[in-house]
């Protein structure tokens, strides 16, 4: 069974600190996405990682993908309160040639404390 596991599930951190969220998956895939979800809201796309070694950065967030290790990381630098949200990784499993399927991780609830 395909599994996508994130850790930690909950992260409380102080403003200004650095931390990393990990996303491990159990099948071969070259494509992985990170999404952000604010309470009661939909998912906002953060990063699209399409190959081994891909690294993307936006503001205080940086995502990377190691397809050989089946691992993606989301690194937070100098956290600010506005980053408080739930973060999901999703592994892309192509099938049928015409579509793809996203398997989502469990999510990491990030709370940045002043």
């Amino acid at each position: 069974e395909l599994k996508v596991e994130q850790n930690p599930l909950f992260l409380s951190m102080q403003e200004g600190k650095n931390y990393t969220i990990y996303c491990n998956y159990s099948t071969t895939s070259d494509r992985l996405y990170w999404y952000r979800q604010d309470p009661g809201k939909s998912l906002e796309s953060l990063f699209v990682l399409l190959s081994n070694g891909a690294v993307k950065q936006e503001g205080r967030l940086m995502a990377s993908l190691d397809t050989k290790a089946r691992l993606s990381t989301l690194h937070i630098t100098a956290a600010v309160h506005d980053l408080s949200a739930t973060y999901f990784c999703a592994v892309d499993i192509p099938f049928g040639g015409a579509t793809n399927k996203l398997i989502f991780g469990t999510g990491t609830l990030l709370a940045v404390q002043p």
């Binding site: 494509r31 996405y33 999404y35 009661g40 809201k41 939909s42 998912l43 796309s45 699209v48 399409l50 999901f88 999703a90 892309d92 192509p94 049928g96 015409a98 579509t99 793809n100 399927k101 996203l102 398997i103 989502f104 991780g105 469990t106 999510g107």
Partner: protein
């Protein structure tokens, strides 16, 4: 630019009542369409996907069904709701060759 709409935004329904949630996409043609459900405090689970009008694939057995009567319209239905159907329902779209899926605003369903 492309936009995706879902309605209603919030719905409270009694057990055993029918359900119809609608999703429409604007600004693109022949999208792949998806229905996901997010239970409280959980991740997203893919329920249905569609690659074209009238083409529906189901990912999990359940008392829900989906239909695609038009190219950019995707409907999620149930004849009789269960308590376990409560959750946040998200519609998403993608267009080949891009793999990325884009999500709608969601419908929060509470079954009492």
């Amino acid at each position: 630019s492309q936009t995706i709409h879902q309605w209603p935004a919030t719905l409270v329904q009694p057990v055993g009542s029918p359900l119809s949630l609608e999703c429409t996409v604007e600004g693109t043609s022949n999208p792949n369409l998806y229905w996901y459900r997010q239970a409280a405090g959980r991740g997203l689970q893919l329920l249905f996907y569609s690659v074209g009008i009238g083409q529906i694939s189901s990912e999990v057995p359940q008392n829900l069904s989906a239909s695609r009567p038009q190219d950019r319209q995707f409907i999620l239905s149930s004849k009789k709701l269960l308590l376990s159907d409560s959750g946040f329902y998200l519609c998403a779209w993608s267009v080949l060759p891009g793999p990325q899926q884009f999500f709608g605003p969601g419908t929060r369903l509470t079954v009492l």
